[in-house]
């Protein structure tokens, strides 16, 4: 089987995406258009041989458009639930900040509990379930920034960024030859494999000193003078799980300080509200603050 590459020059991003997947998390991709956000989501879904749905968020998108709707079935003489596009293993919510807060909030239950409730009925989402949302930090007219409560539910927020020169050259030349590389991807894992790995992640050993390290970082965000809102306990829990997932991906059954240190920026940055918080900044300011914090906390050895 020939090796197919759909994402070039960004191995870290793929690792982070898989980390989020294995820690039963969701991913927020924050970047300008055209750097491969959709390709990443699509590729991820293809690799694990599971259903994939893409929802393009617009300001007129209604919650029922996402979740599904109850309709009357005349043949059965009963109401029947029609599943929306959310019922898939990997869901790409493109330009999530274009939807109204009402539609955005419809995702809350799905993200947290992996189920949706419609008309007193609760429907379970398929397993595994992962939401990848993208948002464009530059475009602001007609957008609704995600509320903090929803941001807190994303395991990580990552920026793909522009490729370097050589990779971009490669991307340009390759894209001309094969129209859709994603189609060439073949599954390497089944959904069962993913679920099994998700259970394995929970068994990864984390030394108590590393828990202390996580707490020290979290505490520093809560007491930092240029941070208005520090990270929540949900955030520290998420970092713990993500670190476990990263350890498993690296072939270890125990965490090392690097797992925590590397993940604290993507896991924590989007949850902070800095003092100079401006709408147009994205997570740049908070990334800088967390890096500053990391360079002041002793690593437990």
């Amino acid at each position: 089987m020939p090796e197919v590459k759909v994402i070039r020059g960004k191995p870290g991003i793929i690792d982070l995406a898989i980390t989020a997947l294995l820690s039963r998390g969701h991913l927020l991709l924050e970047d300008v258009p055209g750097v491969g956000k959709t390709t990443l989501a699509h590729g991820l879904a293809k690799s694990i041989n599971c259903s994939f749905q893409r929802i393009q968020f617009t300001s007129d998108l209604l919650p029922s458009d996402v979740i599904g709707v109850t309709v009357y079935n005349q043949a059965l003489n009963a109401f029947e639930f029609r599943e929306g596009p959310l019922f898939a293993n990997v869901v790409l919510a493109d330009e999530i900040n274009r939807a109204t807060p009402k539609t955005q909030s419809a995702l809350l239950e799905a993200m947290n509990d992996r189920q949706v409730s419609v008309d007193r009925n609760t429907y379970r989402l398929p397993k595994p379930f992962m939401l990848l949302a993208t948002q464009n930090p530059i475009e602001f007219s007609g957008t609704f920034p995600l509320p903090e409560s929803q941001l807190d539910r994303f395991t990580m927020c990552i920026r793909i960024g522009y490729p370097d020169e050589s990779h971009e050259r490669e991307i340009i030349t390759r894209s001309a030859s094969s129209a859709s590389a994603v189609d060439g991807l073949s599954a390497v894992l089944t959904t069962d494999d993913v679920e099994r790995m998700q259970t394995l992640v929970e068994k990864v050993k984390v030394d108590e000193d590393l828990v202390g390290y996580i707490m020290a970082i979290a505490n520093a965000t809560r007491n930092h003078r240029s941070i208005r809102l520090g990270v929540s306990p949900r955030a520290t829990m998420t970092l713990y799980k993500a670190a476990q997932a990263r350890a498993l991906i690296s072939g270890r059954d125990y965490c090392i300080p690097d797992d925590v240190k590397v993940l604290s920026v993507p896991v924590f940055a989007h949850r902070l509200i800095t003092v100079e918080h401006g709408v147009d900044e994205g997570t740049e300011a908070s990334t800088a603050v967390i890096e500053e914090i990391l360079s002041s906390i002793a690593v437990p050895v």
Binding site: Y254, P257, V299, V301
Partner: protein, 665 residues
Amino acid sequence: MNLNSYTLIVTYFMAALGLAAISLVESVGAAFTLAMAGVSAFTLALNLKGRKVIPGAIWNLLAAGVFAFFVADYLAFSGSLVVAASRFLTILLVLKLFDLNRNRDFVIAYAIVFFQILSAAASTVSPLFLLILSLFIIGAIWAMILFNMKRDYQEVHPTEKAFPKVAFGGPFFAYVIGASVFSITVTFMLFFIMPRMEFGFLQSKSLNTVKVSGFSDRVDLGTIGPVKEDPTIVMRVGMDPKARPAGLVYFRGMTLESYDGKGWVKAVKDETLVRRDTGGVFNFERLEGKVVEQSVLLEPLDTDVLFAAGNPVSVEGPFQNVWLDRSGTMRLPSPPYSRIQYRASSVLSPVRKDLSTPLPQYGDTSHLDGSPEGERIKALAESVADGANGARDKAEAIQAHLKKNYSYTLNPKPGAGLSPLDDFLFNSRQGYCEHYATAMAIMLRSNSIPSRIVTGFLNGEWNELGSYYIVRQQDAHSWVEAFIADEGWVRFDPTPEAGVSLYRPSTVSLYMDLLRWRWNRYIIQFSLDDQRQMAIRFEGVGAGVFEGLKGALSKKTTEGAASPLALGAVVAVLLISLIAWRVYTRKKVRTRMPHFYAEMLRTLKRKGLSKGPTETPLEFAERTGIAEVKDITLALHIERYGGRNLNEAERRSVDAAMERLRRSA
């Protein structure tokens, strides 16, 4: 050397200390100790060759046998628990040295040594013991470190039989010594600070009491002679050098007044019970004259008499009550049989101003009546005193006569069939203090002057280094007190100067004795009272420091008021707080970092590469770009965060990487 050899060395070092401690126990016997030392040396040879002579099962049997020996030793031979226990422990230790196999055996050996030290502590007062104890603490800390290393090694390599080669450098021994000094310091601080109880749970009667002569209700003539060549120390009497009299000091023991031809008897029962006053002091009658304070450390004696220079006016010590008779003899209800420390105040004047008419017993010459010897003595007494007017002159005439016409010897040849006094006065004309004093007392009585015999000690040697008298058996002495009307009881000593043992001890021996005195005084006899004294002194220093600080702050102090002592105390307090702070903060940053990683960091530091505290090990390894560092970091991950000990192969590769790193550095 490998770890096992080190452990053996420490074990034998400890065993040697145990034997040395046992050799300090009196009456264990040098032959026994030497024999045991010889057998121990033999076991060392066996252990070095790795041969086992006594298997564990037989060892237990032998130990039971040794215990039976211990019981027999206690009941039948030595009769002393400490001596029997010392022997028992020593034999047990030697047996254990034959059977040093498992880790447990080493621990048992150390425990036996500990008990040996303990039993030596219970019976010895030698300052050497302090040295042994200090060495024991150092050895114990060393042994504990080695033992832990060995056990850890065995845990990690359960299948390995041999032990790795190790080398201990200066820092290791510096650490061992430092830890020992610290623990000894703490122990001493505890020793001085812990509240002292005036009674001991284990205060045993001393093993060997000094048999003194002349201090019982009956003293036969000729009993003091044999001890006059015995250098055993009886007591040490500390005295303010400024108050020390120029002449010889008479340490008074007891007086006897009835002579029956063979010896002196104390027949007059005129003792009264003296109780301590509220301050804990026994006050006797007031006497005129300058009062001199003494601090007496009395060796265990078989007499109940208390000694003091001159005529005592008060005494203070660890006893409930004191009996005092009219002549000034202090006696305890029973002999203490242990070393006691007391303070006495006395008037050193040769006259005891007690003007009450003496009892008829003090003038009794009835044993002279009706025998030719008696008449001969009476005649001599009268002829010697003839021509002298008044009791004092007569007494002085008799004293001069005895000093001049009789020769001093410790070995008088007794004439057959004569009473001792008769023999001395008319036949051999030689004797020692007892004979002179008896002769004078009887001759005084023949001239109707009441008299009595006093037994005690004369002077001893003055140790200037510690300002105290060392009084030995050979300083035992007896003299006479005569009652002179209007003066009281006056001391006369008819013994010629040859009877005073005067010699210059060497400075070394004085130093040695000073050490012993201080050891006894401040360690063994350290009492609640001493603690109080020390507290008062420290309070004084503390107040001095406070005053000094206050003065320095207010700048009102006159020049030179800041005492160097206060300054020293401030520096000491600062130093101690600094150390305490260091110890405290160091404890807080305790780390579970494996040794090999710490060692790698040290090695790299020498190369100028050091890991920042906020850098993860992996980041550091990548920064250095050294493959060995990466390998060691991987091992660190496994052991430190993976919670798993490295397996054999991993450990070997870490060692190899470490070795390469060291060589390149």
